[in-house]
């Protein structure tokens, strides 16, 4: 409804402007007074379009406070648009006849540019908010998918499918469930993933664990820790010799130290 009123007002203002220009031409032709604001105001008030709008405005007078505020704003906007159009036409006249008033026209253009810019900014803010909301929703849905992916990676031994901390989290979960063998596997994949991130090894799925020990890029002390951890993993995973819980905790700690580079110091 507001939009319709806005459009109607714009049409009326355009009509008013053109009528004003026409009247000036007619008056000049008749030789009478060229511009009488009261006569124009009277013409506007008598226009049936204005009458219908006025009735609706009157009904709106009895509405809520916000409606009044909106009407006030709307009137201000209408006045501003009217002034802008007046200035625009005045500029055109000045340009065509005298070449003056170009500064006013530029100011109007700048104001329009400001309106468009504000609109674009508003649109950007709205889109950003929508996108953030969508991302949050996607993240909430992705948690089980992520876990499923880690499980798949655990099954296939794809160490790089998750980061070192994610593997450690999975290992903790598995250890909590009492599956120390699988927990060891997750810890070892965490080790390979972490060392790959630190560029100590180049993880490739066709390479054996002892290839990484031989090709380890680091201090001999670190290499010997890696060899020990690899032997323990072999024994647990391939040999199916289940470790004690305390041993698991020690191994987990040593893996953390080797990934963080503390093993060379200690």
């Amino acid at each position: 409804m507001r939009l319709a009123a806005l459009l109607m007002m714009a049409i009326m203002l355009l009509g008013f402007a053109s009528a004003k220009a026409g009247a000036e031409v007619d008056a000049a032709a008749r030789g009478g007074p060229t511009d009488d604001p009261r006569a124009h105001l009277q013409q506007i008030k008598e226009d049936p379009l204005f009458t219908r709008w006025q009735r609706r405005e009157m009904r709106a007078q009895g509405g809520e406070r916000s409606e009044l505020w909106f009407s006030q704003q709307w009137n201000d906007l209408r006045t501003w648009i009217g002034d802008a159009l007046d200035r625009l036409f005045a500029r055109q006249r000045a340009r065509s006849w005298f070449g003056e008033g170009a500064g006013e026209g530029l100011g109007t253009l700048m104001r329009w540019f400001g309106v468009v810019l504000a609109g674009v900014l508003l649109l950007f803010v709205v889109l950003t908010v929508v996108r953030l909301l969508q991302e949050r929703s996607a993240a909430e849905q992705a948690t089980p998918v992520r876990r499923s992916r880690i499980r798949d990676a655990l099954e296939s031994g794809e160490a790089l499918a998750a980061g070192g901390s994610e593997w450690m989290g999975e290992a903790e979960r598995l250890a909590g469930e009492g599956d120390l063998r699988l927990a060891y596997r997750a810890v070892y994949l965490s080790l390979l993933s972490g060392l790959h991130e630190r560029k100590k090894i180049d993880f490739r799925r066709h390479r054996t664990n002892w290839t990484y020990v031989r090709q380890y890029r680091g201090a001999d002390r670190e290499r010997s820790v890696l060899a020990e951890l690899t032997a323990t993993f072999d024994e647990t995973w391939y040999g199916q010799h289940l470790p004690e819980r305390s041993r698991y905790e020690q191994i987990r700690e040593r893996v953390g130290m080797l990934i963080s580079g503390e093993a060379a110091d200690g």
């Binding site: 296939s156 031994g157 160490a159 596997r185 070892y188 994949l189 799925r205 066709h206 390479r207 054996t208 664990n209 002892w210 290839t211 993993f233 072999d234 024994e235 995973w237 391939y238 040999g239 199916q240």
Partner: protein, 326 residues
Amino acid sequence: MDEQVIEKLTLEDAADRLGSLREQLSKVIHGQRAVLDQLCVALLCGGHALLEGSPGTAKTLTVRALAMAMDCRMKRIQFTPDLMPSDIVGTNTYNLHTQTFELRPGPIFTDLLLADEINRAPAKTQAALLEAMSERHATIDGERELLSPVFTVFATQNPIEFEGTYPLPEAQQDRFLLKIPVPYPDVDAERDMLQAVHRGEAPERLEARGIEPVMTVAELQAMQRQLVDVQVEPGVMDYLLTLCRATREHDLLLMGASPRAAIHLLQASKASALLSGRDYVIPDDVVKMFTPVIGHRLVLSAEAEVSGEDAGSVQEQILDQTDVPR
């Protein structure tokens, strides 16, 4: 031969015996750790090995040293173009005094047999050895004669195509558990060897090298039985199988690994584990034994030969394209 029967050795005892065996062999063979390991694998599996290397790389000496360190019987056959099957398995001869036929067993009736330059004998003679290798018995004049339970053939052949050689047919190559390449020793090992000779030690006199018997045939049999207890995790078993099957589907290969080859790879991997003191196989065991077990059984396609590919590069491709279980 030692008649003692040992039911089982502990894992530590087995690793200890095998370590001692390698130590004794290294007194004679310098800088050839991989060769010694593969010889031990062949013994543990009860399989036969094809030693391939240039002349003068101590292939014969190695087998002699092995027999001495195991305190077992060893015989040698020098294969020549005029060698007959009866020269290998033996024959029945008529004894004029007793007026009966008596078996004169051939050199095949032993524990370790060194078949020197096996590709110099014609196919008929090679076939006589083939039966003995796979069935562990020999047929002489229609009579079946059992061989030693630890009968193992170490055959040598030269890698260079000499004139007058008969290449081993694929079926016969498939009977060999391993093909062990015997490379030239590295410079340090060769220097040690020269210094030993310079001191007056004759390379062929094993007694002078102080080789002692450190393992009995009964202990070897116990270790062979122990292989059954070596575990193979399902993922590792699948890995082994995937590797073997990949050879059959490779574009560059006319013939891949046979099911017997897959069995041999499994046995060799288990033996490799035992040699390392483990009672479980790891993927490294499979990778380590893949080329020695599978390499000599692969036949390249004509296109691959024309394009200059070799079996070694194909094996590397297969290993590089197969994910390791972990």
